[in-house]
Symmetry: C2
Subunit: 164 residues, 2 copies
Amino acid sequence: MQRTSLGDMACSLARSLDVAGEWWTPLIVRNVWFGARRFEEIQRDLGLSRKVLADRLRTLLAEGILERRPYQEHPVRHKYRLTPKGRELMQAFFALMAWGDRWTAEVAGPPMVLCHERCGEIVHGEVTCSSCGEPLRAEETRIARGPGARVGRGSRYVEHLPAP
Amino acid sequence: MQRTSLGDMACSLARSLDVAGEWWTPLIVRNVWFGARRFEEIQRDLGLSRKVLADRLRTLLAEGILERRPYQEHPVRHKYRLTPKGRELMQAFFALMAWGDRWTAEVAGPPMVLCHERCGEIVHGEVTCSSCGEPLRAEETRIARGPGARVGRGSRYVEHLPAP
């Protein structure tokens, strides 16, 4: 597949998308998270080609988002599961699922709900401030130069900003 | 551009990706959020083709994520800005940026940082539980049938789950 790499852009959103931004990738992570852990199961559920799935799984293993172990020897078959990096990525996807529930769900309501085992409630993910704990609204947040800022694509505005 | 639509999948993550999952879209939203609001500015910063940018902007307007107003008459030129739906999408992207800062940043550190005007601190987005406020960790959260669940692609597992 020909595509521009975003991995060299000095932006963590771009770099995240370079790993996780392609459509199937988040859905594969979702499937492994909720228990579809074998190649055949994922393929049947998502209805993507075996070739594309094999390709995406290879990337997810190489990126350390998934790990696998054999569950059968002849022929060898693997089960996939999320690494800590993968589990944190799924956590970020909860925020995107909540946005989808709010803005894209049908009249019937959200197709899936999340149960938080810690509190026992039906919940959704909220994006809150790591410092004050309030919702981190886009209109109350601004960007500043980080320590890893550098001149380049996707950084035109950031490079002119003062450090915070 | 030929691609399978995910919009008919009974999954809010899939539906979100159908709108926002394609690489350039989140970066365009990011640019408009931090102040690159004109076509030329976005195009120059991200280094994508005019054709692709025009196409993505059209989708973002149609989806109600961006809105625009003219800032010049001859010829007509527009400034883009985020709608409430777009601002909430940006908020979800803060979670993905935080993941990228943690797992993909270079040794120098994150290229950009977020300042929360509400509390005045350098912060990052955390995905927390809408009910108890604790971090919504993937390993402490499980999925259940929602009111909009239905049989179909991407729902194989969910359709067999009990309602919560």
